[in-house]
Symmetry: C2
Subunit: 246 residues, 2 copies
DNA sequence: TAGTGGTCTAGACCACGAG
DNA sequence: TCGTGGTCTAGACCACTAC
């Protein structure tokens, strides 16, 4: 019989051990490139198995707080990199604006029922007969227009309901709370673009001003394409970063 | 005494098991949302431990080939997403051009020794006295100019050597093979931009044409900043995609 | 040769989902 | 209640680094 440690907390043990390692670094004032104790020693220190310890180290490695060299040891990294909005994390735009420290707002432009384009049929896996609903919105940060969003979902996703008025800021929240659809990931193409006529008309931006266009398809957990979108972001407001790893 | 399986192959067992799972899906013609056997059954099928099997499944999950639901099982996802150039993977531009199916080339514009800008001093952690070397290149795809690269490294990184002629296509290869410096990751800001005067002059692009600017800092394994770069990409040639996950 | 991180095995309990 | 994936333990061999 193997004795298993009892836990009251809801978080996993590896999360707990991760915290303890961070505290260890703090307490012993480890500087960048200083060596941590070996995994064997750490298991004894924190009274845990090597598996759990290595999970905790994996989390820290992922966050680039430590790095490992086989045969040598585990070392403390340079100060963590601050990523304000890592593109690889899929947040709703509401969340992104909040993270930047602004107050998010929404101006509705239109909600239209349309026939899908060829590209929509292909990407959303539609029958050619099926209609789509397109939501056009201007997102504001501290009241200033910051993004122009054109999001399209298949009409069948919304059932028979008419999305005349939407009380939600975020389309993610709307789909999740009203229809139980949870968006899990998106595949986005990043394209530099000029302001469109609609943006000039509704956002009041100048002609030929620069925007970052994210042409994206959002999927649910089962990999079904749900939202097809062209989202234009003002590069003065949104600083998109990505961590690229080999 | 626990008996450990002997392996001739150099790849890990989990990689091997991953292949076997893919073959299983193929052989049994599993369709999207079809259920895989339970982890318990799969361990027996492939004669491996649950740990190794779960590592293999983790790899497949990461590639979005399968998805898991706790308490229910493991399921086959929709057709895999083709990512031509996932921005989250750090490849040299040479590699990216090759992946697109083009033949990469380089036109050298200049190699200059300069005093660093304030931003370079801060980002590259320089003493204000230290000089930097800036490499300006045009990268071509099938002979057509496709990107304009301005890469800067601290002079001390290159020691006393003069980088007059570089036989390498890739700056990564140059640093790795001549100086043993291995770039491991980069933090990139993605900015829409107009062509600069230099690009108009040397690349022959038109004024006010659109480019995607990656303003990035490349780090080595120990987290030291090595390359500071402004890389401009022609959006007609480079289609940058990112998978964004919650 | 000794010590480190990387991989693998075997077995156990926990938490979720469905009947 | 049962089967599933999620987490955890204990112990072993392998591959790399430094001496």
């Amino acid at each position: 019989m193997v004795e298993i440690k009892k836990r009251e907390s809801t978080v996993s043990l590896s999360q707990e051990v991760k915290k303890q390692i961070l505290e260890y670094i703090e307490r012993n004032d480890l500087q960048p490139n200083d060596k941590l104790p070996s995994e064997n020693q750490l298991t004894k220190l924190f009274k845990t198995s090597r598996y759990t310890l290595r999970e905790a180290l994996a989390l820290l490695k992922q966050e680039r707080i430590i790095y490992k060299i086989k045969g040598k040891g585990t070392f403390v990294n340079k100060k963590p990199i601050q990523i304000k909005s890592g593109l690889e994390y899929l947040d709703s735009i509401t969340e992104i604006i909040k993270k930047f420290g602004y107050v998010p707002g929404t101006k509705w432009v239109s909600i239209e029922e349309k026939s899908p384009t060829k590209d929509m049929i292909e990407k959303l896996n539609l029958k050619s007969k099926g209609k789509v609903i397109t939501f056009k919105r201007i997102r504001t940060a501290n009241g200033k227009p910051a993004a122009f969003l054109v999001d399209t979902v298949a009409k069948k996703v919304l059932g028979n309901r008419k999305p005349e008025i939407i009380i939600y800021e975020s389309l993610f929240d709307y789909l999740e709370k009203e229809f139980g659809i949870i968006i899990e990931y998106a595949v986005s193409e990043i394209i530099p673009a000029f302001s469109t006529d609609e943006m000039i008309k509704y956002m009041g931006v100048e002609k030929n001003s620069l925007f970052l266009l994210l042409y994206q398809l959002h999927y649910d957990r089962e990999g079904r394409p749900i939202i097809y979108s062209f989202d234009y972001f003002d590069p003065e407001v949104f600083k998109f970063k990505v961590i690229r790893s080999r």
